[in-house]
Symmetry: C2
Subunit: 299 residues, 2 copies
């Protein structure tokens, strides 16, 4: 049996698993994110422990990592976290560390590209030419699969930071993105919701005015993605999307804002099947990391 180590490396936690495939996760652990040295040591310790106790070898590792990260294989800092605002994590080698410590091939991509990959392989995005996975959590990030491959390009998509319009009369909040103020992430991330309403997003009532505003900003982001890259499906994950009432609100606003410009049943009539929850539930990222490990082994 081939065994994969899978890591969903986030700013608040590292979800780590050992699996032979997406339907066969043999062990899983969540490790709180501390400083880089300590955290990475704890993660590699988990894999080494697993190997020791089971007597089985892990054959490859896949990592979906918070970022920005360096994905240019020819670069001297390939597999590093680069200019992240996460304190202490700037310029941290990630992929190479696991390669050396576990002596296995390592597949590496952004957290959201990994989630998009999981959904592309086994979830709501199978067989599609263009798939977007957007996570709406503490921050907002998007992964993009086109023609069956992740899109990296110049660095990788940073969809959370697209420009949206704000009506300052309705919403005077100045936006919390340290780079752009009121970009999408600055206005619609979990952090923005917490700050604007001075209340944790999860605790806001289902009919709170926060959600109308949230749906509006997210719909604006989605419009920009639809017009730019023409996705065949948009998958919305992350903590805020547990507020299921957001889905119909976002769908309606996307239709209103496109205003009949894209006359196609997927948007006009079947939008419930166009803007969707992850097919893999909470497992998109870890399954994507399994896929990345399998890809690294095949190479």
């Amino acid at each position: 049996m081939v065994l994969y180590g899978a890591i969903e490396a986030g700013g608040t936690k590292f979800v780590c698993a050992v699996a032979s495939g997406p339907d066969d996760i043999l062990s899983e652990v969540t490790i709180a994110t501390k400083g880089p040295a300590e955290t990475l040591k704890e993660v590699v310790g988990y894999f080494k422990d697993y190997q020791e106790k089971s007597g089985e070898q892990i054959n490859a590792v896949g990592i979906g990592c918070f970022g920005p990260v360096d994905l240019r294989k020819e670069s001297g800092t390939y597999g590093y976290i680069t200019s992240t605002p996460k304190e202490g994590w700037q310029d941290t080698e990630v992929a190479g560390f696991f390669e050396r410590e576990l002596k296995v091939p390592v597949g590496f991509d952004t957290d959201v590209n990994a989630a998009a990959y999981g959904e592309y392989l086994w979830g709501a995005g199978t067989g599609l030419e263009v798939v977007i996975y957007l996570t709406v959590g503490t921050g907002i990030g998007g992964g993009l699969y086109v023609h069956g491959k992740p899109v990296h390009g110049l660095i990788h998509p940073e969809m959370g930071h697209v420009i949206v319009r704000q009506d300052k009369n309705k919403d005077p909040f100045e936006g919390c993105c340290p780079y752009h103020g009121g970009c999408l992430e600055g206005l619609a991330s979990g952090r923005a919701v917490d700050l604007r309403w001075d209340c944790h997003a999860a605790e806001l009532a289902e009919d709170h005015a926060a959600w109308e505003l949230e749906a509006d900003y997210l719909a604006q982001g989605l419009i920009n993605y639809i017009l730019t890259v023409s996705p065949e499906r948009i998958i919305l994950g992350g903590g805020l999307m547990h507020k299921k009432q957001l889905f119909p609100m976002i769908r309606k606003k996307v239709q209103e804002k496109l205003n009949g410009y894209i006359l196609i049943p997927a948007i006009q009539e079947e939008i419930d099947n166009y803007i969707v929850s992850p097919g893999l539930g909470e497992k998109s990222g870890i399954c994507g990391a399994i896929g990345l490990a399998a890809g690294a082994l095949a190479e």
Copy 2:
């Protein structure tokens, strides 16, 4: 010698050529766009005349077409212009017409995907993973090549219609997009410039306030594309981009608006080589159509 018929089908003119390759255009003609029946007949007449006079057969045709168009090969209206605002041209069969009339394989894509393809094959986009060609003319449209293939997805990119921010105190113009008012096309297309200043864009002085505003809106559009799909190069063509002073203004505003978020030399230091003029000058579209014809023949 293999001969290709190439068509750049636009709302105001059809540029048509016969060529054996991008460096060997044997004949070229421009036909004003009238009603669909009349225009298409004139175009096919040009190719038939060429064949008759030269005694040579055209082996395939490539068409870059204004739209929206239907690119889904399995669709009953594949190769049609669909919901265009261009009067009389809604639901017009284009690809199939040339296939029947000339009895050759026909490659078909949007005008801007064709231009992006031309640039990808022989211009400023060769060898890149993600390339955008944006035309800023009467309207604004973008073509997208990823992993060496055009992106169609749900329909095809419609980049001209992304959301931008407008400061109504600086620019009270209401926007001229019939669908979205002040989207990018509504505020920054040639039509928008003409209407806002009540003067043809080409006649506005180089230091007219129009260009500062124009550069700002275009930079906002580019920011949205950069964050969504991470292009390795953005090629700006079309009539308005003949105003060469726009390039440095747009580049500077892109840097300012990204505000150091994407820390990579291509944007920080080498932006002159990142946001560029078409490598093929005015020939991106017609060369792309030659490429589409060659592709159709190879299939």
